[in-house]
Amino acid sequence: MEKDQYYSRLKTIVSPYLPEDVRAESIGMDSHFVKELNINSANLVDIILDVEDEFDIVLENEDMDAMQTVRDAMELIDKKLAAKK
């Protein structure tokens, strides 16, 4: 299923932004970027840019606000890619 593929690609994108004490294995589908993965909120901006490049989509300001968890990101990607077709 495509969503699994999004998940693994997202994990690759998110991993470098994890603080040293958070391991990449702890990135779950429902992980909250800031609250659970302890990602610096300034770096969320970079994750969004990386997601845009990786999936060739454009995320709007309101999309960014809605992207709180890994699952939020997967749903956004799905929606944006569907809209492109």
Partner: protein
């Protein structure tokens, strides 16, 4: 409160060597870090040679976290973090990843223009209407204080953390600022240093001013010729130097190794008056700076046995020697030994003072005065003031007791520091 201040750690990222061992060996043997730069050739620079630290990705990866490495284009920042972390390590100081910062440790790490390649990237995005593409790391890599900010976070310093900027005086000035703060009891340790970016956007303005040598593009290692009759302009350089200054009390309590004592010095300006301008120094101000440093250090000028000059390899070198001679009241065979490291590293601009302070202090440890390269034809206007032997062309075994280091910069600004061999 006038406390004694010593240097307990050093780090270096220089065109002819990264790490104290490589750099010390390069200065001792006269190994050059000046190389032909393909990019300057392609961009039609008159001067296509420059000094740039030779560092690879594997080395950089050791100093930065994965997230810091993303989009990292500020090469001055890279040089500064390498030198700064190494100096801290060399001083035997720990870094606590958790808990409160070290309130007694601060940073003065200067630069000229930080992250110019990063800024260039930002300009392209902004002009294309894509400001959001700048991401989160554009600001921290291009603010001047990015270097002290990075080091402050890496080392967890809780005292004053700041970036100074005074053109080519920057690095020497940062050491002076650190000395003052520790001497007055406001800090126990300060990481002092400076860094300067590499590349065409930093060096282009100097090429346009036609103050860089243009006839050595096929012979880079001969291009930088301080104090020689054939000096044809300064070769641009880059990199970073860092020194840990510490109160003698703190150093002794830790049992730290001491490179030298900082007796002190002063910084001043010629006000761009009396022969001084944006680009040329007021000779009276230079002499006042040197004499002032001697006075602050509480020594007699006759005690100075070694000078590490600014001496950039322009026509001003003879004037600089005249200023030293006048300020110290010494000439001929009585002149101290004098050297310039710019022959092998180029003029590292904002990083010059700190890189050269590190090199100058290595001479205490190595019991030597490092030789001047590309100076077989000593300038006649220098030879008329100082006997030739006082400008050693080969590394000389010598136990320095008192060393004077000065740097001068655009804007008619000067700084001079006196270091003394430390004996308990």
């Amino acid at each position: 409160m006038n406390r004694r201040v010593v240097v307990t750690g050093m780090g270096i990222c220089a065109p002819n060597g990264t790490g104290l061992k490589a750099f010390g060996e390069a200065l001792r043997s006269g190994k050059s870090g000046i190389r032909f730069q393909e990019d300057l050739y392609k961009l039609n620079f008159g001067c296509q040679v420059a000094g740039k630290p030779n560092i690879n990705e594997a080395l950089i990866n050791k100093y930065f976290s994965a997230v810091q490495l993303k989009g990292l284009l500020a090469n001055g920042l890279i040089y500064g973090v390498i030198a700064g972390k190494d100096a801290w390590n060399d001083a035997g100081l720990d870094v606590q990843p958790e808990g409160p910062p070290d309130w007694d440790s601060g940073i003065f790490f200067g630069t000229g223009l930080l992250g110019v390649d990063k800024f260039r990237e930002a300009i392209y995005h902004v002009d294309a209407g894509q400001v959001r593409k700048l991401g989160s790391n554009s600001v921290v890599q291009t603010m001047a204080s990015g270097i002290s900010a990075y080091l402050g976070g890496i080392l967890g310093c809780g005292n004053q953390v700041s970036t100074n900027s005074s053109a080519c005086t920057t690095g020497t000035e940062s050491v002076l600022m650190a000395w003052e703060r520790i001497r007055s009891g406001q800090a126990e340790r300060i990481l002092a240093g400076s860094c300067s970016d590499s590349g065409p956007y930093i060096w282009g303005g100097f090429d346009a001013m036609r103050i860089l040598p243009r006839s050595y593009n096929q012979d880079p290692e001969s291009a930088s010729r301080p104090m020689s009759a054939s000096a044809a302009g300064f070769v641009p350089g880059s990199g970073a130097g860092a020194l840990v200054l510490e109160s003698l009390v703190s150093a002794e309590n830790r049992g730290a190794r001491i490179y030298a004592e900082v007796l002190g010095g002063i910084a001043n300006s010629g006000g761009q008056r009396e022969g001084g301008s944006m680009t040329a120094p007021n000779p009276g101000a230079v002499q006042r700076c040197i004499a002032g440093a001697v006075e602050v250090a509480g020594i007699h000028p006759s005690e100075i046995d070694s000078i590490n000059g600014h001496l950039t390899a322009t026509s001003k070198d003879a004037e600089e020697i005249a200023n030293w001679s006048q300020a110290l009241g010494r000439s001929g065979a009585d002149f101290p030994y004098v050297n310039s490291f710019k022959s092998t590293i180029g003029h590292c601009l904002a990083a010059a003072g700190s890189i050269e302070c590190v090199g100058a202090l290595l001479q205490f440890k190595e019991q030597a005065i490092f030789g001047n390269v590309n100076c077989d034809d000593l300038h006649p206007d220098i030879e008329s003031q100082v006997v030739s032997e006082r400008v050693p062309r080969k590394t000389l075994p010598f136990s320095i007791n008192l060393l004077a280091k000065a740097s001068f910069g655009f804007g008619d600004v000067n700084a001079c520091i006196i270091f003394r061999r430390y004996t308990n």
